[in-house]
Amino acid sequence: MQVPAPFEYERATSVDQAIGLLDRLGDTARLVAGGHSLLPMMKLRLANFEYLIDINDLSDVLGYITVEPTQIRIGAMARHRELLESAELGRAFPIFADAEKVIADPVVRNRGTLGGSLCQADPSEDLSAVCTTLNASCVIRGRDGDRVVTMEEFHRGPYETAVGDAEMLTEVRFPLRPNGASAYEKVERRAGDWAVVSSGAAVWLDGDVIADARVGLAAVGPNTAGLPEISAMLTGQRPSEELYEQAGIIAARSCNPVTDMRGSEEYKRHLAKELTRRALRRSVNRINEGS
C-alpha cells in the first residue's frame, strides 16, 4: 500500500466557501474532485499538500449539463460517466462519447470530473483535446466573481492553468452551431492507458462546403493544441480524402512530440496525421449521415 504524507482535509459546502478556504490556505491547499489524478500522485509522494479541500459535495450545484439555444454549459463537477451518457451532449457533440469511451475505465469515469481533467492539464489528457477542438471557454470564479478564458488561455503549460490562487474552474461552455459534427480518434497501448496520440475534429458544413473546422491534438506537445492552420486550410473547401490528407500533413508537422515509452517521435507524428485524417473523415460522415 502506497501511503501519502500527512495532510488535513475539509469538505467544502459551497463554491464561495471553497474559494474562501483557498484564499486563506494559499498554495498549501488543493481542491480534490474525482481524485483519480491527484490521489495517486500524493500516494507516490510526487504531490504533497498540507490541505485537501474536497468539493464532491458541490456536485449538485456544479454537476449540470445545460443545453441552451447557442451553447451548452457543463458544470466543472460533471462526471465522465455523465458526459458519456448524456444523449443531448452526444447529439450535439459526438466527440464527447468517442473520447469518454476511451478514458481510463468505468471506475475512474464514475468519479472523475470535467473540471478535474482540465485542471490537471496533463498534455495527454483527452477532455482537454475535446474542449480545444470544440472551441470551449472556461469560467473561472474568484472572490471577485467570474472571468471567462479560451482554452488557449486556460492551458499555460504541462500541469499549469490560468486558474490562479483562490480561484476555481466552475463551468465550461461550448458554442453550438448548426450543421456540424465531431469525432475523436485515439491510439493507446492498452485499454485505459494515456493516449500515444489522439486527435479530435469538429466540422461545420454550409451546403457541401466546409464552413469551419477545428482539430485538437493530445500527447504531442506541452499542451493540447488547436491547429488554426488546419482550420484556415479547410474552410471554404469541399470535404475530400485529399483534403483530410493535407490536414493530416499539417497536423504532423505542427506538433512537438517526444520519444518515450509510448512511442517514437516519428510514429507520433505519423499518428497525428493518420488520426487527424480519420477524425475529419468521421466528422463529415456523421454530418452526412445526420442530414
Partner: protein
C-alpha cells in the same frame, strides 16, 4: 493415446458431477476467495504489531558515504531505525541468494540498483514508518552505472561487484551445452542457415499481491514465526536457519493465501530478513508489505536474454541444427532461483520439439546496475526463453524458405516412436505424440481457411497474421541426483491421514498461489482412495504442519507433489486392504478394489468401504497380525525424470495498417499435459498463461533509462493486459501420459506462458510479411510495429 473430450460442460453444472477422483469440479478454495474471506499476509493483525518500511536507493550505482538516522529516530512513533552498517555489526548485512551468490540485505558499501534496500524503519503504524523514511539523510557519491548489457564487459565499465574478492569486471558466469564441433560441422555443410538476433526483454510477474511478511519472535521460547509470501516455505525456513543462525526447529514459516506468485515469490528478499531483524530487536511482531512500486522495481524480474540464434536446414526444410549465443543480464546480484547445476535454468531445451542432428549453446551472464532476479513469471526455469528462441527461428526459416510455418513444423516434429527421446543437449523427453496435437490445433483454427482469408485480405491491403508455435516443456524438478536448490534436493513429501469416520487430511510440501491445490490434491487422493474430495482436507503452507519439500514453482506441484499424493494414498490403500482382509476373513489376494471399497472376488455383497476400514483401523477389536492401528502414511517422492508436456498454439491477429495497432482476434491452444486431473483448473491455468503471453508480446517491458532509472515502476508505466486485449480463448487437448509419473500427469501451470509469446509474435510478424519483416522484438507496441513496417525494427534494449 489421444482423446478428445466433449467440452460442453461448463460453469456451475460442473459441481453436479462431484467426481470421486479426477474430473471437472469447482474449486474447493473458491467460496473463501471469491467472498473476500481469504487470509493473506497483509490481513494478519497481531497484538502489538509494528510496521516496517524500507528506504531504497534513488540511483542505480553509488557509494554510500553517510547515513544519518537521527531525525528518523526522533520521530515520536518510530521504534527502530536500522542501517546496513548496523546489520554488518551483527553479520547480517549480506545474505546468500538461491544461486550461490550473495546479496546485500541493506547496502553497506554501495548501492547497485535503483530501489536497493538502504535502511529500514519500524514504527507504530505504516504511515509513520513511511513518513520517517523521509527523515533519513543518506549521502551518496554517484557512480557511473552499467545499464547497457552489451557494454557490461567492456574494460572501461565500472566494476559493480567490488564486494567480491578480486573482482575486476562484471562477468557473472559462462555456461555452455551441446556439442560445438558437431554443430559447426552440420552448419558448414547445410544448404540454408538463418541467423537472427532475438531479444527477450526484461519483464516482471507483477502478482496482484505484492511481497510481504509478518515476523513474530518469541524471546522466551526462542521461537520465530514468520508469515510470508513464499512459494517455498520449507526451503525458506532452512535458509533462515542458515542466515540468521536460529535453530531450524524453532522457526515456523507460514505461507497463508497467496495472491499470485509466478516465481516472484520464490527468492528470499531483503524485506523478509528486515522484518525478522525488526522483530528480534523490538521483541514485537513486525509487518512489512511492499507497495506496488517496490514490487516492480526491486523483486524478481524475468528473462532479459539477448540471443543470437542460428538454424541450419536443408533447402526443402529439414531442420539440421541449432546454434545460439546468449548474453544474460542478471542484474546486480545473481538472484536467479534455479537448481545449482543449471545456472541458465533449463534453457538447454532450446532444441524444442524437433528432430535435429546437432545443437550448441554458449552463454555469458553479466552483472548490471539493475534489480536482481531472472527466473520468474511462469518461465519453467528459462524454458520461456528457449521456446521463444526456437519458435521464432523456425518462423524465420519458414520465411526464408517461403514455406508454410505449420507445414515446416509438421515436417520436423519428433515422431512418437522416438520417445523416450534424448535431445542433442542431453534432456530425456519422457513421452510425446506431437503431430496429433498440431493437427488438432489446425483443425480448431480452420487453418487452411485462415490462410485463404489472409491471402484475400493481402490483396486488399489488409494486414492479417497467423502465428503458429509448438512447444515442449520440461517440468517437475527434479531428480535429486541432478537437481537441488542450495544443496536441498528437489523431492517432496506427502502425508495422508484417514480419520476414524473416513474423512481425511492430506499434508503437502508445495504451496498454492492460486493454482487450486486444495481441489486438485483432494482429487488425486480421492481417485486413489475413493473418499470424495469434499471429505479430504488439504493442508499446505505451514512448515510445522506439513512434511518437508521444495515448494511450488516451475510447474512442479503436480509432477512431484502430485505423484507423492497418489503414492501415499496407494500406500494407505494397501494397509486398508490388509485390514479389509481381516474384516472379510479372506486373504488379501482374494480382494478386489472398487474406488472406495474392497469386495471379495466374485461376490459383490461381501464388501467393506474405506470408511468402514478407517473405523476398524481406529476401533476396538484385533487387527490382522503385524498391522498397527491407524490409517495413515507418509512418503517422500524423488522424481525419476522431469515430465515433458507439449502443446500447439495458433494465434490470429489483425494489424491496422494506418496506426499499426494489433488486435488479437483468435487464439487456439491445444495442450497435452498427460493425464488431466481437473480439466476446469487446467483451462483456468491456460487462460491465465495465454493472457500473460499476450501481455509480454504486446506491451510488457521493464526498461531503464541511460542513468539506470527503472521506467516500469508503476502499473501506469508497466502495462499488463486487460480483458479487452485478449480474445475468447479456444482450448483443446490431447493426452499423452507421462510413463514414469504414478498417474501419468505432467505439469501445466506454465505451458501457456511459455508457448503463447512466440505464437503472438509469429502472428504479428506474419501480418507484416508484405513489408518484408522477418523478425521484430517484443513488446510489439503500436509504435514498435510501425517501426517494423518502416523497415526500422529495433531491439527494445
Amino acid at each position: 493415446m489421444t482423446a478428445v473430450e466433449d467440452r460442453k460442460v461448463t460453469g456451475f453444472e460442473d459441481n453436479d458431477r462431484k467426481p470421486v477422483g479426477h474430473g471437472r469440479m469447482l474449486r474447493k478454495e473458491d467460496p473463501r476467495l471469491i467472498r473476500g474471506k481469504g487470509r493473506f499476509v497483509d490481513d494478519l493483525q497481531l497484538n502489538g504489531m509494528l510496521h516496517l518500511a524500507i528506504l531504497r536507493s534513488p540511483m542505480a550505482h553509488g557509494r554510500v558515504v553517510n547515513v544519518d538516522i537521527s531525525a528518523a529516530q526522533a520521530h515520536p512513533k518510530v521504534k527502530l531505525v536500522v542501517t546496513g552498517a548496523m546489520l554488518a555489526e551483527k553479520g547480517l548485512a549480506w545474505m546468500p541468494t538461491l544461486s550461490n551468490d550473495v546479496q546485500a540485505v541493506l547496502a553497506t558499501d554501495k548501492v547497485r540498483f535503483q530501489g536497493q534496500e538502504v535502511a529500514f524503519v519500524v514504527a507504530e503504524d505504516r504511515y509513520s514508518a513511511r513518513d520517517a523514511l523521509e527523515l533519513i539523510d543518506v549521502e551518496y557519491e554517484q557512480l557511473e552505472p552499467v545499464v547497457d548489457v552489451r557494454r557490461a564487459l567492456d574494460p572501461s565499465s565500472p566494476v559493480i561487484r567490488t564486494d567480491l574478492d578480486g573482482k575486476t569486471d562484471n562477468h557473472c558466469f559462462d555456461w555452455q551445452t551441446g556439442d560445438e564441433a558437431a554443430t559447426d560441422a552440420v552448419f558448414a555443410a547445410a544448404d540454408v542457415i538463418v541467423t537472427e538476433d532475438i531479444v527477450y526483454p526484461r519483464v516482471h510477474p507483477a502478482p496482484m499481491e505484492t511481497c510481504g511478511a509478518v515476523a513474530d519472535y518469541d524471546a522466551v521460547e526462542g521461537r520465530l514465526t514468520l508469515w510470508s509470501t513464499t512459494q517455498a516455505p520449507h526451503a525458506h525456513r532452512t535458509l533462515y536457519a542458515i542466515v540468521a543462525g536460529l535453530p531450524e526447529h524453532k522457526i515456523r514459516v507460514i505461507s497463508p493465501d497467496i495472491g499470485g506468485g509466478f516465481g516472484n515469490k520464490v527468492p528470499i528478499y531483503p524485506g523478509y530478513v528486515c522484518a525478522i531483524v525488526g522483530s528480534l530487536l523490538t521483541g514485537r511482531p513486525v509487518k512489512w508489505v511492499e507497495d506496488r512500486s517496490e514490487n516492480l522495481t526491486s523483486t524478481g524480474f524475468a528473462r532479459d536474454y539477448i540471443m543470437r540464434g542460428e538454424i541450419a536446414a536443408t533447402k526443402d526444410g529439414k531442420i539440421l541444427a541449432i546454434r545460439t549465443n546468449v548474453l544474460a543480464d542478471h542484474g546486480a546480484f545473481n538472484g536467479t532461483a534455479a537448481p545449482v547445476k543449471y545456472p541458465a535454468g533449463f534453457f538447454g531445451v532450446f532444441t524444442g520439439s524437433y528432430d535435429i542432428e546437432a545443437a550448441y549453446c554458449s552463454m555469458t551472464a553479466v552483472y548490471t546496475n539493475k534489480a536482481p532476479g531472472g527466473v520468474a513469471y511462469a518461465c519453467s526455469f528459462r524454458i520461456t526463453e528457449a521456446v521463444y528462441l526456437i519458435e521464432r527461428l523456425v518462423d524465420c526459416l519458414a520465411y526464408d524458405l517461403k514455406m508454410d510455418s505449420a507445414e515446416l513444423r509438421l515436417k520436423n516434429l519428433l515422431r512418437p516412436e522416438q520417445f523416450p527421446y534424448t535431445s542433442k543437449t542431453g534432456w530425456i523427453y519422457d513421452s510425446g505424440n506431437y503431430e496429433p496435437t498440431m493437427r488438432e490445433a489446425m483443425r480448431i483454427a480452420g487453418y487452411d481457411e485462415l490462410r485463404r482469408e489472409q491471402a484475400e485480405k493481402r490483396q486488399r491491403g489488409e494486414l492479417m497474421g497467423i502465428g503458429v508455435a509448438f512447444f515442449t516443456e520440461a517440468v517437475g524438478a527434479g531428480p535429486r541426483k541432478d537437481m537441488d536448490i542450495l544443496g536441498l534436493g528437489m523431492a517432496d513429501g506427502c502425508e495422508l491421514r484417514i480419520h476414524p469416520t473416513g474423512k481425511a487430511v492430506v499434508r503437502l510440501s508445495v504451496q498454492s498461489q492460486g493454482q487450486g491445490h486444495e481441489t486438485t490434491f483432494a482429487q488425486i487422493v480421492a481417485e486413489e482412495i475413493g473418499i470424495p474430495p469434499a471429505d479430504i482436507d488439504v493442508v499446505h503452507g505451514d512448515t510445522d504442519n506439513t512434511p518437508f519439500g521444495l515448494g511450488t514453482y516451475g510447474s512442479r506441484s503436480t509432477p512431484v507433489s502430485g505423484a507423492a499424493a497418489a503414492l501415499v494414498a496407494r500406500k494407505v490403500r494397501e494397509k486398508a486392504r490388509i485390514i479389509a482382509s481381516g474384516m472379510l476373513e479372506v486373504s488379501v489376494a482374494d480382494l478386489d478394489w472398487d474406488k472406495g471399497s474392497f469386495h471379495v472376488k466374485g461376490d459383490l455383497t461381501k464388501s467393506v468401504t474405506i470408511q468402514d476400514i478407517a473405523m476398524k483401523a481406529h476401533g476396538a477389536g484385533d487387527l490382522p497380525d503385524g498391522v498397527e492401528g491407524g490409517l495413515e502414511a507418509q512418503i517422500c517422492y524423488n522424481p525419476e525424470n522431469l515430465t515433458y508436456p507439449h502443446g500447439a498454439y495458433i494465434c490470429v491477429v489483425d494489424v491496422d495498417p494506418g496506426t499499426a495497432q494489433v488486435s488479437v482476434r483468435r487464439f487456439i491452444a491445444v495442450d497435452d499435459c498427460g493425464t488431466r486431473i481437473n480439466p476446469m483448473i487446467i483451462e483456468g491455468q491456460i487462460h491465465g498463461g495465454l493472457t500473460d503471453g499476450v501481455g509480454m508480446a504486446l506491451m510488457e517491458i521493464i526498461a531503464f533509462d541511460e542513468d539506470g532509472n527503472c521506467l516500469g515502476g508503476s502499473l501506469m508505466d508497466y502495462l499488463i493486459p486487460t480483458a479487452l486485449e485478449v480474445p475468447d480463448w479456444e482450448t483443446g487437448f490431447t493426452v499423452t501420459p507421462s510413463p514414469h509419473h504414478p498417474i501419468g500427469a505432467k505439469g501445466v501451470g506454465e505451458s501457456a506462458t511459455v508457448g503463447s509469446p512466440p505464437a503472438v509474435v509469429n502472428a504479428i510478424v506474419d501480418a507484416l510479411k508484405p513489408f518484408g519483416v522477418r523478425h521484430a522484438d517484443m513488446p510489439l507496441t503500436p509504435s514498435r510495429v510501425w517501426d517494423a513496417m518502416q523497415g526500422n525494427a529495433r531491439p527494445p534494449v
